[in-house]
Amino acid sequence: MIEKKIISAEEAAGMVKDGDTVMLSGFMACGSPPDILDALCEQETKEMTLICNDTAIYNVKTGDMNGVAPLIHKRQFSRVIVSHIGTNPETQRQMNEGETEVELVPQGTLAEQVRAGGAGLGGILTPTGVGTEVEEGKQVIDIDGKKFLLEKARKGDIALIKAGTADKAGNLTYDKSSRNFGPLMATACETVIVEVDEIVEIGELNPECIVTPGFFVDYLVQTRGTK
């Protein structure tokens, strides 16, 4: 079994180019890779498109931010595709003032679009959003008398994912609710980089318990343990 290259968070961030579409795992930063995001913020990569569940948390009163929020603050994304921005008023401000293009997608639709992107599908048919603003500009398809929206698949240039344990072949297990979009995004991007709590030898993970098979993964980053 070929071992995956283990790189630093800085090297990982360096693989993200200006203008890239970045898929970022995490739900309010739970499951986002902290060290890679820190480095990406530091390197000031610009004009990126973000695909993520949300834009993490920015507390206006205290100034505290987590996950991708500092990168939103530095306006490193020209486009943001997420299901929720309610916990980051800065994203809302940028959207309202036309500084950043924000596309709000129902969470289940976003998950299926990413899954479809990695599974070779052109898109998915979902009843979610029928009769709402989400329907605008989309094809409505009638199947046996029920209406569905055609939602196209999504792919990315680079996936930045947080996992629990990797073996050196890149096989992954996740850590509790931090799993969320990680296993989906690992299938839908050209380059997949995973920040992990722990890297073990090949053979140490139970093959029955592996969530993401290692061939999806290109690089591993050992987290500094900040969680």
């Binding site: 739970c30 949300d54 309202n96 299926e112 029928v130 609710s177």
Partner: protein, 220 residues
């Protein structure tokens, strides 16, 4: 009669709706509190949209795990027998009709079962998160809300004017005045909560409300 918002009565009433073994998803905010009022002997399974079933109580101070949060991003626990899954599986559970009940908050709900709870154009645009999928997919959709907005206007409408989360999807509305079912384009008042009266509800709600013969006063 003076109106005083009473959120506890809402969640207490909703908590009585579940049966042993029901799979339930509770929305953020007021709906989350429903879990604290389950009657003795009723055990339900809570689903959390960010990827697990078996949602347990808030951990003791100091025992929080940042890798285990609920849909509001707050630390929670997993009960023995719980299970984790990814977001596609989570919303497959939700959209696929496997969730028996979802309890959601309200900006507006109308007599046709339309729900608006995710944005106020120009003012508040948080995004729909999982609300659209939950409203479309859960077998039974319960909405939980104080009866009136701060302005004094009822949140129960003839027709929603805000952007919809989903159309024709709400089954029940539980407010601090009463318990309403939605059917055939009307609200049906099943119960009214003391000290409020049928007359008070009718005169303060601009919508078609049917009062069936077995409508009853309830004290919670």
């Amino acid at each position: 009669m003076e109106y005083k918002p009473n959120k506890e009565i809402i969640v207490k009433r909703i908590a009585k709706m579940f049966a042993n073994g029901d799979l339930v998803n509770l929305g953020i905010g007021l709906p989350t509190q429903v879990g604290n009022h389950l009657p003795d002997g009723v055990t339900i399974l809570l689903q959390s949209e960010n990827g697990f079933v078996g949602l347990g109580p808030v951990p003791e101070k100091g025992a929080e795990d940042p890798m285990l949060v609920n849909a509001g991003g707050m630390p929670v626990t997993l009960l023995p027998g719980g299970a984790y899954f990814d977001s596609a599986a989570s919303f497959g559970i939700i959209r696929g009709g496997h969730v028996d009940y979802t309890v959601l908050g309200v900006l507006q709900v109308d007599q046709h079962g339309n729900l608006a709870n995710y944005m106020i154009p120009g003012k508040m645009v948080p995004g729909m998160g999982g609300a659209m999928d939950l409203t479309v997919g859960a077998k039974t959709v319960i909405t939980a809300t104080t009866h009136f907005e701060k302005s004094g206007e009822a949140k129960l409408k003839r027709n929603c004017t805000l952007p919809l989360t989903a159309g024709n999807a709400v089954n029940y509305v539980v407010t601090d005045l009463g318990f309403f079912e939605i059917a055939d384009g009307k609200f049906i008042l099943r119960e009214y909560f003391a000290p409020y009266t049928v007359e008070y509800i009718l005169s303060n709600t601009d919508a078609d409300i049917v009062i069936p013969d077995d409508c009853r006063e309830v004290t919670l």
